[in-house]
Amino acid sequence: MKGNFGFSLMLALCLGLFAGLGTAQAGEGIEGTARADGLDACVAPTAFMRRNHFELIKHQRDITVHQGIRDTDNSLAGCVDCHVRKDAQGNHVPVNSPGEFCAGCHQYTGATLDCFSCHATKPTGN
């Protein structure tokens, strides 16, 4: 009896988990819905950004955390804000979802993306 109850509980938990995932997941991002899509270049020329974006972000993170400077072009929040795409329902699609702006290249090159274990993957409004 006890075992049955445990099993039912597990089943309920699993179902709940998947239901939760289902609602949390956004659809596929649509080309042209990111603010960046309408701009000629990022905060620096595209070729430079492709090779050096992490240098900019890494430099900025130390300045922001230790010196409190947040008025900058090089913040990760800025990257996400500008590059995040929307799905057909108009919801933001996390930038680290497969095929989205960040994950697209990082998956292809096999470079681990650690930013988003802490940082927001879409604008949260605060």
Binding site: L13, R61, D62, I63, T64, V65, H66, Q67, G68, I69, R70, D71, T72, A77, V80, F116, S117, C118, H119, A120, T121, P123, T124, G125, N126
Partner: protein, 256 residues
């Protein structure tokens, strides 16, 4: 600054109820406004030691059983986005869940008088957590905020052992939702940072101060003699918790 904590209650401290309450109200009103406007100017220059942020907490106003400040802190900093891991017991979860503010009860063994107070990072001038950190992740910002640089934190938890105030927590599990303004994640130690995101974006209050309906928390610049917190501290007797450690805390209490 250092006063014995078992000193008999000075009746004048009761005046603090009226005095600091009024001061806090004037600060809270514009503060709430500032923070609701996301476009308040972000900092473009490095923080300096011209200011030292700190707090005064009037424990006489702190109601037993009230947890408004704790709830507000959890919401502001995303602490409520970490759920109990599956399979963890309530006991373990209660012990290990991240808490930036703890509700603490002090009992004077001689008189039996019980005091409730919120206990958080005391933002020491000489923080033991900074002394012991092997990577420099635990640091004291020029403006007096003691915080963790999560980029360099390796999660060793040495600082948790060093802190006399039990102010630090470790994040054991993935955070289910990340807030842009307050990034946090698994594997790092964290603690109260005096709402650093508000400090750098022009805010004048902390989440706990805004939430306290009793006006028990006054936040401000300890170096500015005209700030509400300095004025209150100049008028009323205040104590540092564990003043014997000579850490010169930035968070002070009255009526303890």
């Amino acid at each position: 600054m250092s006063q014995p904590t078992d000193q008999p209650t000075d009746q004048r401290r009761r005046d603090f109820l009226a005095g600091a309450g009024a001061a806090a109200a004037t600060v809270v009103a514009p503060g709430v406004f500032l923070n609701s406007v996301a476009s308040a100017a972000p900092r473009d220059t490095a923080v300096t030691d011209d200011v030292r942020y700190g707090m005064l907490i009037d424990t006489a106003k702190c109601a037993d059983g009230c947890s408004d400040c704790v709830t507000a802190c959890e919401k502001e900093n995303g602490l409520d986005q970490l759920l109990k891991p599956e399979g963890a017991s309530d006991e373990i979860w209660d012990m290990q869940r991240p808490r930036w503010i703890r509700e603490v009860k002090l009992r004077n063994n001689l008189t039996g008088r019980v005091t409730s107070l919120p206990m958080m990072c005391q933002h020491c001038e000489h923080p033991p957590c900074v002394d012991v950190c092997p990577t420099g992740a635990s640091f004291r910002r020029a403006d007096g905020i003691v915080m963790v640089d999560r980029h360099t934190c390796i999660g060793c938890r040495y600082c948790m052992m060093a802190c006399p105030y039990n102010a630090r927590s470790f994040i054991h599990e993935n955070v289910r939702f990340k807030i842009t303004a307050a990034p946090r994640g698994k594997g790092c130690v964290e603690s109260c940072n005096l709402c650093v995101q508000r400090r750098d974006n022009g805010g004048t209050t902390t989440a706990c101060q805004d939430a306290c309906q009793q006006g028990a928390i006054v936040f401000g610049d300890l170096k500015d003699p005209n700030s509400a917190v300095s004025q209150a501290m100049a008028r009323y007797p205040t104590v540092q918790i564990r003043a014997d450690l000579k850490l010169n805390t930035g968070v002070r209490y009255t009526d303890v």
